[in-house]
Symmetry: C2
Subunit: 375 residues, 2 copies
């Protein structure tokens, strides 16, 4: 540093010599009933606040509460209205006040039961309650199991956009019980599988091949197949997150399929399920990469084969007319849209500057989009 | 961990191999006018949001804004109503929305100009804006220079209590320009000096002696004396924070004088300035320690001498009738009040279990309090 003034004095402050603690993602059928022992081992807390959306309160909130209380732990249930529309600062504030009124202290933990919204919202309560208390995630959708439970992202939406307010607050423990998937609508199962295809596409060709070979087992929720799927996706995502915990570089490859997918989702008013939009987004972005000479030719077709086997879209709709709204994406605020692109199936591409995202000539976007037709 | 189920699979996630970055507290007369160069070196950002309470907007907000703009940086001013009463989620939300409307992105930083409230509130905006953006602190009160600028605590109050919502979010840089103290009311200067006495009392007897010897220079805001004071207090607090970044142990010694002081402040409806309440609290807690046989006899009198020299209270008022409300303190939620106590001036005491806080027999509190008379 340049000397700011002849008289200036500088004191160096080292906030923490320790790395954030590692945590376990534990996967097994029937774990929900034994959650107290897992919490006792990894997130010791005097009391547990179980936070759950109202639509699955009876199905999964009450059983988790009962399991904790039967083990003698102080626990209470806190519900919020289900749905992304309620992932707001107002609901975060209400949940916080409810915990304060119930006198949950800094020696408590939050157990977030539900899909991505529950994890984001209850996670943000945990991140900010008395400057942060331990979080235990209990994802109940396949997408949340594969994706939202790893990475430490928490947050809420504002009128200006999704996830604009939040914090990085990794859980102390993630408990995944594949049995809960039996009550998940089929479209949500397929939606989750799209995210698993993404993990393979950006990092591991063998995983893509395994998913294709086991498509029927996965769609039928065969326990061994689901367990392998969750495990492998969590391992792959954990690798990326460990390499780039605060999303400054390589973690961008997790956005493959999401730049185009997100604007399709928005344009549909969220009538397209997330994973279906991601499937179309991956096909579009693989085509963009092929035309830009970045992605190995034939990659679009390889992706289409596995997506088709999973009952997901195997072609993308036109998107060029939406490219203006790509600039509204949080990651591209005030700048041109950037794309995470493949080198080939199973491998992500860096640009010439070594970065994991690519700017793309708008004419390439137009050219790719013009070959597509409405779905 | 016990095997949770015969079929359970566990994946270990390591969120970050890297420790949080160290940061500099730069102290020097006239630094406010050169803030852009400091930010360029330590917190590079495309744009700066200067957040300032409305009562010092003209005095310090505009000059900081001008210094940034003259250096060619994109910058804008965001004000909020001055005072602890406005350190709320509503004001945090308004500031966040104002930054979003002005299209500040993840490549921005927040420059918090003001006292403790500005640091806490703007710091919490920085901690949660797009999951965290860099924070630069520009404290304008002596108390904030000595104390609030080190430790990484941010947060807001709720109807249930102070600082119940917040996050640990260390600044990238703290810029301390002692020249701003010339506009600070005398009572606020003395209030800040009480916190410096605390740093000496818990950690460094030589610092207590230096403060007593330089009391007149400090009250007269002699530049060299103020600079040494800020530097030594920041060094001492930084040592403690580095040893215990998330407030799980040793950092509790920073609460010396604050358990009793806080209830006195509350009972007065905040008519007693913070530092004056801490001065009385230190005297009371030193007396508690002496009677409990933990603190060396004569410590109360040594503290009284230095506090008197600084124009601060040299005796405490009765407090036993307030001891019920000590249990309402965040750190003691659901438990008996605990006290950070001295072994002697310059050294904190652990209890028999090696902890840095002590439970005290209520009869000791009553006995100490009964020797005091109203101020």
């Amino acid at each position: 540093m340049k000397a700011p003034s002849a008289r200036a004095v500088t004191v160096r402050v080292q906030p923490s010599p320790a790395a954030p603690a590692a945590y376990d993602v534990v996967i097994g059928a029937g774990l929900l009933g034994r959650i107290d022992a897992l919490i006792a081992d990894t997130a010791p807390a005097a009391a547990c606040a179980v936070v759950v959306p109202d639509d699955i309160e009876a199905l999964y909130g009450q059983p988790v509460l009962a399991a904790l209380r039967e083990a003698g732990r102080r626990a209470a249930l806190f519900t919020f209205p289900a749905g992304e529309a309620h992932k707001t600062r107002a609901v975060w504030s209400d949940l916080t006040d409810a915990l304060l009124a119930a006198r949950f202290g800094r020696d408590s933990c939050i157990v977030a039961v539900g899909g991505g919204v529950a994890g984001d919202l209850a996670g943000f309560v945990a991140a900010t309650y008395m400057r942060g208390i331990p979080l235990v995630q209990v994802p109940t959708t396949l997408l949340a199991m594969l994706d939202a439970s790893v990475g430490g992202k928490t947050g809420v939406d504002t009128p200006a956009g999704k996830n604009l307010v939040g914090a990085f607050h990794p859980p102390r423990l993630v408990v995944i019980d594949p049995e809960v998937l039996r009550t998940l609508p089929d479209a949500e199962v397929r939606s989750g599988l799209a995210e698993a295809v993404k993990h393979g596409a950006i990092l591991d060709v063998a995983y893509v091949d395994w998913i294709r070979a086991h498509a029927d087992d996965l769609l039928g929720l065969d326990p061994a197949a689901v367990e392998h799927l969750v495990r492998r996706s969590v391992e792959l995502k954990a690798e990326i997150v460990a390499a780039d915990p605060f999303e400054h570089g390589q973690r961008a490859i997790l956005n493959f399929g999401h730049t185009v997918g997100h604007v399709m989702e928005l344009a549909s008013g969220f009538s397209i399920p997330h994973g279906f939009a991601v499937a179309e987004g991956m096909l579009a972005e693989a085509a963009i990469g092929e035309l830009a000479g970045i992605t190995e030719p034939g990659s679009v077709e390889r992706l289409a084969v596995v997506l088709r086997a999973l009952g997901l879209p195997d072609r993308a709709r036109p998107f060029a007319h939406l490219s203006g709204s790509m600039r509204l994406d949080k990651k591209a605020r005030g700048a041109e849209p950037r794309f995470a692109l493949l080198a080939r199936i199973g491998e992500s591409a860096r640009n010439a500057a070594g970065e994991w995202t690519h700017s793309v000539d708008p004419r390439v976007l137009d050219a790719v989009s013009s070959t597509l037709r409405d779905v």
